[in-house]
Symmetry: C2
Subunit: 515 residues, 2 copies
């Protein structure tokens, strides 16, 4: 249960292959990834400063609506100017508050081997979160439901590529909204020992989620308040609004020293200016406002700067993802987050209607930007399709393969005398081949990354196998993963305490849903 | 004919949209791309030096076979140790020769607007080259032929994404090998005004190609010898051999100050050590030997350092492309080329059997590595499938879209007061939307990259349209491109001179093919 993963930064390819039976899906071993190079700087520091200054101007002159009196009281006390719901921020107040935010912190899982260091050069990948629909080749597109939800959680646990569960991989509409969070967060806490995320939908739900996260770990309130465990994502109501649900979630979570990720959803041309720079100004203003608020609630509470700036197709208004604009805004989002010395959240996105070439290229363009741009906390890492309207089982498996390839790419290269291979080259000599060389025989079994989805058979073999495309192969693999799934160990006392709490809350009727 | 493209480094998104009729494929305008950030350093300078030193050791102690007496004479005169065909290099001799190689140079096209600066932060994309088969959805997989060849050349001309023609996009097997180079290079010179590449297959062919390239431009021998125009790719016979065809090509081209790109084909585990570092040592040794040789033939002749290190699947021996290993070797290849201050050639590769998700993700992983790693001269940019065994019409279009997205990503972001959009945010205010904002109306028509292949319709619209995948859409687009193709202007005098030369050589019977 507590297999501790040593520091991945010292490890290379040869350490990461897990030996498995031939029937099982061959996965990369659990890797905690770190970027071995500095993140890309797409714009100059002066340009970053121009975006920063413009967003300070937005917050000072235009301001942002905080739709909760208690929140406005906190902001007023800290020196903000209040005008109805509108809050205007003094730049000095933002700077002072942001200075308290930690640059890195650890998110604790109930299995310490699944803890994640957030920030710096660390990068962690989560599942897709929140689509209202699920899809697979067999059943087609359908409304999100509990059965599909459960399958996604099992896959999230089974695939080593996945570091955490990003909310509900698909919305289980068939569970009543008043008790949904209780039922499914208990299930998540049982079916996987990886960290998970809760939604900020009012005070009661987030308090329930906090208690579930604490009980699953079996730790005291004091320990829990010292050790960030649960994360919530706050999407501002762009442009420039924060609603009571979000604000209550931020207050409850920050007070308990839990993680708040503030992510404006700033689609250039719709909820944000039609320029990438302008959309980033708005993103930055809203993120700064939210993060500042969390630091006012509890200075030093762990926060994450979220970037989700993309553009809409100006012909149709449809959101576009994995585009050149998305790449730019992602990389610059990282530059902004590092300016404030806080971790950066971004996403693996695409707008394809099926798992075709488009889904793959938009996803890898996203992975390119978030990896090179210094993303730390990657939402929607696996399974996102149709711009987030669908959680796809096949895409989930494909993305796990893509994430593994990114993790493999980030592993330090082995450069020593044996790896440099001069003696192997001498042994083989001009015109020879290396298949039988001693150097090859000693290393061939785990020399290279072994993909799950890629099909490298030659054309004749592939033709004879019925010409399966990547979608068909991923379909087979996801069902295999569900067959292979094994529930993680769960401390019986923790499980009982968790059940007691959830059952009591269910008996109480959960949360009223008259909102 | 001579629309001069201004320096792309000063231009941003808004300058690159070409207005076209609604029926035409909407392309990005011709962009000459430059990286606006330093290339990624995946390994330390010390590790680069370790690879460099190991490859010097290979060349000094093991040596390389140069299978042509004239080549060995040149090397002997420069101080190399000759033992039969084996040539051993003194490290000082390599260093001295490489110091003559230019860091950047211009490849001249018959239309000066198509000239390409090679090296530094410039990046140019070529077509696929050399597959023995062609494929499209309609006709399936077939042996390369003249009709398909011609279509690919027309597409190479039509798509602005393509900067140059990389040899024969598909091998036209139905033209006799003795006259093939004459027929098809004349055709290339007529159907496009972009630069092209010739194969080094003996003295006569490369001399014919040089004369065709000169006549197409209509320049004197003296001007031609001052202005690099033609490029040849030399694939060493890895490990550690160079055959007479390649060596003759290197000598003929370097003597005329034309471009030689030396690209070892070092698949780790087959023709090279099973480690990425070892394969790079072999790549580097072979590249250094070839480039040194060119500099001995003609100090200062333009050369390109070619990297093509990937791995084989150790279970099947099949070559793998677009893998994490390929990404690492590509980025480190760039680090090595920059150590020697020469331009870097690399490729857009994949090993998929069809244009599915795999083809897309392996390609974008390749583009990721070559873009961030400082690739200058990109072979196989569009159309490569099946590890190079197939030139795909649909993949060609997809790749043009992918290249355009890379070029768009590399365009500098507009960061000025208007782009920062504070006044637009003020106009819209909290809770509003930007669709009708003045800022949006002034910019919406060309605000964002408009992809050719991506389908962003919502699920209902896409369903009603028959659920086309990217492959189907690319199939439609390639045929549209062929319909839209227009031959470039060609100076009648140059055309006549070219025809006279080629017709004379055809009457002479071309090249004997008893090799």
């Amino acid at each position: 249960m507590t297999e501790i993963i040593p520091d991945a930064s010292r490890r290379t390819r040869r350490d990461t292959v897990r030996r498995q039976g031939p029937q099982q899906i061959q996965q990369q071993k659990l890797v905690k990834s770190r970027r071995p190079f500095p993140p890309t700087r797409l714009i100059s520091d002066d340009q970053v400063e121009a975006i920063h200054q413009a967003s300070l101007k937005v917050l000072a002159e235009i301001g942002m609506d905080f739709m909760l009196p208690e929140a406005r009281d906190i902001l007023k006390k800290a020196g903000a100017t209040i005008d109805g719901e509108r809050v205007r921020f003094d730049p000095g107040m933002i700077e002072e508050a942001m200075a308290h935010a930690p640059e890195t912190f650890t998110i604790h899982a109930r299995n310490a081997a699944r803890n994640m260091v957030i920030g710096g050069d660390n990068i962690s990948f989560g599942t897709v979160g929140s689509p209202p629909n699920a899809h697979d080749l067999d059943g087609g597109r359908r409304t999100g439901n509990h059965a599909d939800f459960t399958k996604f959680i099992k896959m999230a646990h089974h695939f080593n590529a996945i570091d955490f569960v990003s909310g509900y991989p698909v919305e289980p509409i068939d569970i009543h909204a008043g008790i949904r969070h209780l039922e499914v967060l208990r299930e998540v806490a049982q079916l996987t020992d990886k960290p998970f995320i809760a939604y900020s939908l009012g005070v009661e739900r987030i308090r329930d989620a906090i208690e579930i996260a604490r009980l699953a770990r079996g730790v005291s309130h004091e320990q829990f308040d010292r050790e960030p465990t649960l994360t919530t994502i706050v999407n501002t109501n762009s442009p420039l609004k924060l609603d009571p649900n979000m604000l209550n979630g931020m207050m409850e979570m920050s007070r308990r020293n839990q993680v708040v990720c503030v992510t404006p959803f700033t689609l250039a041309g719709a909820m944000a200016p039609v320029t990438v720079a302008g959309a980033l100004v708005e993103q930055n203003a809203e993120a700064l406002a939210g993060l500042t608020f969390c630091q006012l609630v509890n200075p030093g509470a762990p926060v994450i700067y979220g970037g989700f700036t993309s553009n809409v197709d100006m012909k149709s208004g449809a959101p576009a993802f994995g585009t050149p604009e998305y790449m730019k805004s992602t990389i610059i989002g990282g530059q902004l987050a590092r300016r404030y010395k806080v971790p950066f959240r971004t996403s693996n996105t695409n707008a394809a209607n099926m798992m075709d070439a488009q889904a793959a290229y938009e996803s890898v363009f996203s992975l390119w930007a978030l990896t090179m741009g210094g993303g730390n906390f990657i939402m929607h890492g696996a399974g996102w399709l149709e711009g987030g309207l669908v959680a796809s089982f096949e895409k989930f498996v494909l993305d796990c393969d893509l994430i593994q390839m990114v993790k493999e790419f980030l592993l330090p290269l082995e450069v020593n005398d044996d790896a440099l291979g001069v003696e192997a080259i001498r042994e083989v000599g001009p015109g020879g081949h290396f298949f039988g060389a001693q150097h090859t025989l000693a290393r061939y079994s785990d020399a290279f990354y072994a993909p799950m989805v890629s099909d490298w058979r030659n054309n004749q073999q592939w033709d004879a196998a019925g010409r399966p495309d990547a979608l068909k192969r991923a379909n087979t693999l996801y069902k295999q993963a569900l067959n292979e799934y094994q529930a993680p160990m769960f401390d019986p006392a923790a499980k009982d305490a968790l059940d007691d709490f959830v059952n009591r809350r269910l008996r109480e009727g959960g949360v009223s849903t008259d909102f």
